[in-house]
C-alpha cells in the first residue's frame, strides 16, 4: 500500500511536470509580448528591453523553463507580470472560493445524480427511467453559461430569492453551485444508472434476493457499494470538468475563485498566473485521481489486498 502510494505520488509529480512543460511551451509561443504590455504606451524600446531582461524573457526557453521548475520546487509560482506580486498568494487567496464552490457543486451533483441514477436503474425501462434519462440529457446538453444566465435572471434578478453575485454567505453559493451541479448530475445519473444496472444483474444480487433480503436493502446495501466504484473513478475527470466550468460560472456570478483569475490573466497574457492556475488545476485533477485510488480500497476489499 505504502509502495503503491509512493508510486502514484511519483506518477502525479511526473504528470504535473508534463503539464508544466506543455503549458510553458504553449504560453511562450503566444504572439503577445508581456514586456510590451507591461511597459505601457509611453515606453521607450529601452524600457521594454529592460523589462524583458528583468523578467528573464530574453533567456533561451529551456533556461527559462529550468528556472521556472527550480522555483516551482521551492513552492514559488513566480510573480504576476500584471499585478506585480507573487502568484502563489493570489491563487491561494482565491482557492477557498473555488474549493467551496466545487465542494457544493459536487455535493449537489452527487446527491441528485446518485439518487436519480439509482431510481432509474431500479425502475429500468419504465416511465420514471425514461424521464430521468431524458432529464439527465437535458442537463448535459444545456450550455453552462445558458444555465447560469437563466438562473441568474429568474432566481436572482426577477424573483430576488438569491443574491445576484458575490461571495460570503451560503445564499451566494446556491446559484453557482447549482449551475455547476446540474451538468455533473446529468453525467452522474447516467453513470450510476449504468453501473447499477450492471450490478443489479450480478449473481450476488440474485443471491441476496434468494436470501429474502428486502428490496430496498438489496439496492442500498448490496448493489450500491458495488456501483460506486465507477463513480469514484470519475472524481479526477469530474474535477477537470469543474475547473473548466468554474471559468464560466465564476465569471457570470462574480465568484472570486481561480477560474475568474485565470480568465483575467488570459486577457492580460499574465503568463505566470496562467501557468499557476493550470498547474493548480492539474494538481487538483491528479489529487482527485489519487483520492479515487485511495477511497476505492475502502469500498472494494479486492483492491485493498492488491
Amino acid at each position: 500500500m505504502a509502495l503503491l502510494l509512493a508510486r502514484r505520488l511519483l506518477q502525479a509529480a511526473l504528470i504535473l511536470l508534463g503539464v508544466a512543460a506543455i503549458t510553458f511551451v504553449l504560453l511562450y509561443a503566444l504572439p503577445a509580448d508581456p514586456a510590451v504590455l507591461l511597459a505601457g504606451r509611453n515606453a521607450t524600446p529601452q524600457t521594454v528591453a529592460n523589462i524583458r531582461h528583468q523578467l528573464g524573457l530574453d533567456l533561451p526557453l529551456p533556461v527559462q523553463f529550468w528556472n521556472y521548475i527550480v522555483h516551482l520546487l521551492q513552492g514559488d509560482l513566480g510573480r504576476s507580470f500584471n499585478q506585480k506580486t507573487a502568484v502563489a498568494p493570489l491563487i491561494l487567496a482565491r482557492l477557498p472560493a473555488t474549493l467551496t464552490l466545487m465542494a457544493a457543486g459536487i455535493a449537489i451533483e452527487v446527491m441528485i445524480g446518485l439518487t436519480l441514477g439509482v431510481i432509474a436503474a431500479v425502475r429500468r425501462d419504465g416511465a420514471i427511467d425514461r424521464l430521468v434519462m431524458t432529464l439527465s440529457f437535458v442537463g448535459v446538453s444545456t450550455p453552462q453559461f445558458l444555465v447560469a444566465l437563466l438562473l441568474l435572471y429568474v432566481f436572482a434578478a426577477t424573483l430576488g430569492w438569491f443574491p445576484m453575485s458575490g461571495y460570503g454567505t451560503p445564499a451566494h453559493l446556491v446559484l453557482p453551485a447549482v449551475t455547476l451541479g446540474i451538468l455533473g448530475a446529468g453525467w452522474y445519473a447516467r453513470i450510476v444508472r449504468s453501473a447499477m444496472i450492471d450490478v443489479l444483474g450480478q449473481d450476488y444480487v440474485r443471491t441476496a434476493h434468494a436470501k429474502g433480503v428486502p428490496a430496498a436493502r438489496v439496492v442500498l446495501r448490496h448493489a450500491l457499494p458495488n456501483a460506486l466504484l465507477p463513480v469514484i473513478a470519475m472524481i479526477g475527470i469530474d474535477i477537470g470538468q469543474f475547473m473548466s466550468g468554474a471559468v464560466v460560472v465564476e465569471a457570470v456570478f462574480g465568484w472570486p475563485g481561480i477560474g475568474q483569475l485565470a480568465w483575467q490573466a488570459i486577457q492580460q497574457v499574465d503568463i505566470p498566473i496562467i501557468m499557476g492556475v493550470t498547474l493548480v488545476s492539474a494538481l487538483a485533477i491528479v489529487l482527485g485521481n489519487l483520492l479515487a485510488d485511495l477511497i476505492a480500497p475502502f469500498i472494494d476489499p479486492r483492491i485493498r489486498a492488491g
Binding site: 506518477q11 511526473l14 504528470i15 504535473l16 508534463g18 503539464v19 506543455i22 503549458t23 504553449l26 504560453l27 509561443a29 503566444l30 504572439p31 425514461r130 434519462m133 431524458t134 440529457f137 437535458v138 448535459v140 446538453s141 444545456t142 450550455p143 453552462q144 453559461f145 445558458l146 444566465l149 435572471y153 434578478a157 479526477g236 475527470i237 477537470g240 470538468q241 475547473m243 473548466s244 466550468g245 471559468v247 464560466v248 485565470a262 480568465w263 488570459i266 496562467i274 492556475v277 493550470t278 488545476s281 492539474a282 485533477i285 491528479v286 485521481n289
Partner: protein, 285 residues
C-alpha cells in the same frame, strides 16, 4: 443489424423520432441555408435597429427578431447551423480519429509505445480542457478551422481512453489469439479484426461527441475566442448577445434553444445507437 431495422428501432421511441427530426431539420438548414434564410446572415439591415440602436423583437418582418447590428436573427441561426454542424462534424471526426488511433495503438502495443502514448493521454487528462482550449485558441488566431482543431485537440482524450480499454479487451479475446496462431501480422489484425470492432464505438462517440463539440464551440465563443464574426455560429450569436438576456431575451433564448435542442438530439441518438449496436448486446444466442 441492417440500417433499416436500426432506423425502425430508433423510430419506435417517440423521443428519438423527435430527436431525429430535429437533427434532420438542422442538417436541412445547414445545407439549404441560402434557400431557407429570409435575409443574408451578415446584412446589417437599416430598419433592423430601432432609432436609438436597439435590436427589434420578433415580428412579422423579422420572425425571430434582429440582433444588435440589425441583422435578422433567424437568418443568422440558419446559417449558424452550417458553422456549428461543420465544426461538430470536423472537430469531432478529427477527435474520434486521433483518439481511436492513439487508443488502439496504445492498447494493442502494450509495451513501450503503448505506455508512452497512454501516459501522454493521462497527462492530457490532467490538463484542464477548457484552459487548454483557451490557450490554444489565443495562440492560433481563431478561425473556423482552428476552432475545430482546438476542440479536436481537447476532445480526443476521452475517445482514446475508451479506444484503449476496448482494444485491450479485444486483444485478450480468443479470436485475436487465434489470428496470431494462424500467423497474421499486427497490421492485419489491427485493420481487419480490431478496427471493425471499434466502428460502433466510433459511431457512438461520433454522435455523442458532436453534442459536446457544439457546446464547447459555444463556450469558446462565449469567452470570445470562437468563430470570428460576422460568420455566424450558434455559439458566437449567443456570445455577442449574452448581455442582452434581459433587454432582448430572444437574442439569447433562440440560439440557446438551438444549441440545447441539437446537443440533446445528438446525445439521445448516440445513446440509442449505443444501446442498439453495442457489441456486447449482440450475437451469443
Amino acid at each position: 443489424m441492417s440500417a433499416g431495422s436500426l432506423l425502425r428501432a430508433l423510430v419506435r421511441r417517440p423521443v428519438l423520432a423527435l430527436a431525429l427530426a430535429i437533427i434532420a431539420g438542422v442538417f436541412a438548414c445547414a445545407l439549404l441555408a441560402p434557400l431557407l434564410a429570409p435575409y443574408a446572415p451578415d446584412d446589417q439591415i437599416f430598419d433592423g435597429l430601432s432609432l436609438d440602436g436597439a435590436p427589434l423583437p420578433p415580428s412579422a418582418q423579422f420572425l425571430l427578431g434582429t440582433d444588435t447590428l440589425g441583422r435578422d436573427l433567424l437568418s443568422r441561426l440558419i446559417y449558424g447551423a452550417r458553422t456549428s454542424l461543420l465544426i461538430g462534424l470536423v472537430a469531432n471526426g478529427t477527435a474520434v480519429m486521433i483518439g481511436l488511433a492513439v487508443g488502439v495503438i496504445a492498447g494493442y502495443f502494450s509495451g513501450l509505445l503503448g505506455g508512452v502514448l497512454m501516459r501522454f493521454t493521462d497527462l492530457m487528462t490532467a490538463f484542464p480542457a477548457l484552459l487548454l482550449a483557451i490557450v490554444l485558441a489565443a495562440l492560433l488566431k481563431p478561425s473556423l478551422w482552428i476552432v475545430a482543431m482546438v476542440i479536436a485537440m481537447v476532445n480526443w482524450v476521452q475517445v482514446a481512453r475508451i479506444g484503449y480499454t476496448e482494444t485491450r479487451s479485444l486483444s485478450e479475446r480468443d479470436f485475436i489469439l487465434a489470428e496470431r496462431a494462424m500467423g497474421a501480422g499486427n497490421l492485419r489484425i489491427l485493420a481487419r479484426h480490431i478496427l471493425p470492432h471499434l466502428v460502433p464505438t466510433a459511431i457512438v462517440w461520433g454522435t455523442l461527441g458532436i453534442a459536446t463539440t457544439v457546446l464547447l464551440e459555444a463556450t469558446l465563443s462565449f469567452l470570445g475566442i470562437g468563430v470570428q464574426p460576422p460568420q455566424p455560429s450558434w455559439g458566437n450569436i449567443v456570445f455577442e448577445s449574452q448581455s442582452y438576456f434581459q433587454s432582448a431575451p430572444w437574442l439569447v433564448f433562440f440560439p440557446g434553444l438551438a444549441i440545447l435542442a441539437t446537443a440533446l438530439s445528438f446525445n439521445l441518438i448516440g445513446d440509442a445507437l449505443r444501446d442498439l449496436i453495442d457489441p456486447t448486446q449482440r450475437g451469443r444466442d
